[in-house]
């Protein structure tokens, strides 16, 4: 007996990133989760792409604003509050 709610590999792959981004409805999300539990190739793909997205975040967020920029903004805004900067 096949589950009427079951989705195939193609449908799962179509929603790969929406699934990983948490952008799907709970119903569709659980359909995909069920498919991944049964399908090793799709599980491998989803796992790879999830690692990729975590890798992107980890490699791109170290860079911060220079300290002097924060100081300059605060000085401009709050040293002379009667004259907000016009830039």
């Amino acid at each position: 007996m096949s589950d009427p709610d079951a989705i195939d590999c193609h449908a799962a792959a179509d929603q790969l990133y929406e699934y990983l981004d948490g952008e799907l409805s709970p119903t569709v999300e659980s359909q995909i989760r069920a498919h991944l539990a049964d399908c090793a190739p799709c599980f491998g793909l989803f796992d790879f792409e999830e690692t990729y997205l975590r890798f992107l975040e980890a490699r791109t967020r170290a860079q911060g604003a220079p300290a002097h920029l924060r100081r300059r903004i605060l000085d401009e805004l709050f040293q002379h509050p009667e004259q907000p900067p016009r830039s």
Partner: protein, 190 residues
């Protein structure tokens, strides 16, 4: 003439300035220059300060600031620039490198050996429309709806651009990793 009240220093630091790193980082990815990024980040914060009454409390302040940044960037630079990348967006054939990294090298090697600068350089080389959604989503963590509002495009456009941007970047990083000798090329590829 009554002006809406400006935020106090503590409130502004807590709600807005806490996102200065994100604003600066994004400005750097958009403009490609540390000097312009500082300038854009500063102007964004000044505009946010003056327009504070337009910020809806409880919504994502970071998304609001990044939208101001984007508009500032467009007004300043894009007006005079051509956007040649507009034409080839749909020409790019997206596909995952997942299958390529299976045989020759483990996927983990591919991710572990690439350092920050190499990844950032590859992002900076993406066409602007792709770079923008990828940075807002994958670096700054905005939702599809927040990105759609920010770039004034339908959610469907965000989805398809993001898909292509991620696959394109993945492909670039993979080719780079092979070239740099970080990972082995899959044997059956020419």
């Amino acid at each position: 003439m009554s002006q809406p009240p400006s935020p106090d220093r503590e409130g502004f630091e807590r709600e807005a300035l806490v996102h200065l790193d994100a604003v600066y980082r994004t400005a750097l990815r958009l403009s490609g220059s540390p000097m312009e990024a500082e300038d854009l980040a500063q102007e964004t914060m000044f505009k946010a300060f003056r327009g504070w009454h337009q910020y809806e409390a409880g919504t994502n302040a970071k998304a609001w600031l990044l939208t101001i940044l984007r508009n500032t960037f467009i007004n300043r630079y894009r007006r005079t620039k051509q956007r040649p990348e507009m034409v080839d967006i749909t020409e790019i054939e997206p596909y995952t490198v997942f299958h390529d990294v299976q045989d020759a090298s483990p996927a983990q090697t591919f991710f572990d050996r690439l350092v920050d600068d190499e990844v950032l350089r590859a992002i900076d080389a993406l066409p602007e429309d792709f770079r923008e959604v990828l940075v807002l989503s994958d670096v700054e963590g905005l939702t599809y709806a927040e990105i759609a509002a920010s770039i004034e495009a339908p959610v469907g456009t965000v989805k398809s651009r993001l898909f292509r941007a991620r696959q394109l970047l993945q492909r670039e990083l993979y080719d780079y990793a092979v070239e740099a000798g970080y990972i082995e090329q899959r044997r059956d590829r020419p």
